[in-house]
Subunit: 95 residues, 2 copies
Amino acid sequence: MIIIVAKSVVKPGCKAAYIAAARELIEKSQAEPGCLTYDLYEDLNDPSTLTMIEFWKDQAAIDAHNASPHFTTIVPKLAEFREGPGEVHFYQKAE
Amino acid sequence: MIIIVAKSVVKPGCKAAYIAAARELIEKSQAEPGCLTYDLYEDLNDPSTLTMIEFWKDQAAIDAHNASPHFTTIVPKLAEFREGPGEVHFYQKAE
């Protein structure tokens, strides 16, 4: 299993638009066979921070996701609402 | 549901000790009634970063966790192996 934590700071006034644009990405990603969980969360201590937390079966599932039409079309749109590139971490269980 | 993402950078040579000390905390936390998932992950791009990713039913579950014997005894020990205070984010689903 690989977990992705993708943290974004949204531009002032763009939060609702970001969440609305992300909705289709979330629904279609959740439907992907290798997706265990995938959703968008807001930081309780910083309303401008929105973070996607994603649990994937393996790297192949992530590769398929990154090549999917919903990823390739929606993710660039989300970037328009974001301050800077965002912060993305990839995790695996610590053994 | 509330998600906690607690990111720590461990001191050189302290990673194995950190993971070993966290094991009991993980097992006992996972057994708590309000815990949906709780585990320790390593950053695939930065071996010194270890992050606890926790899904809790609600704030009451977190309060009970923070008051638990395993939390109050083990978390201070983990701090000994960490560089600085760590970075903790609390998230709820973005609506």
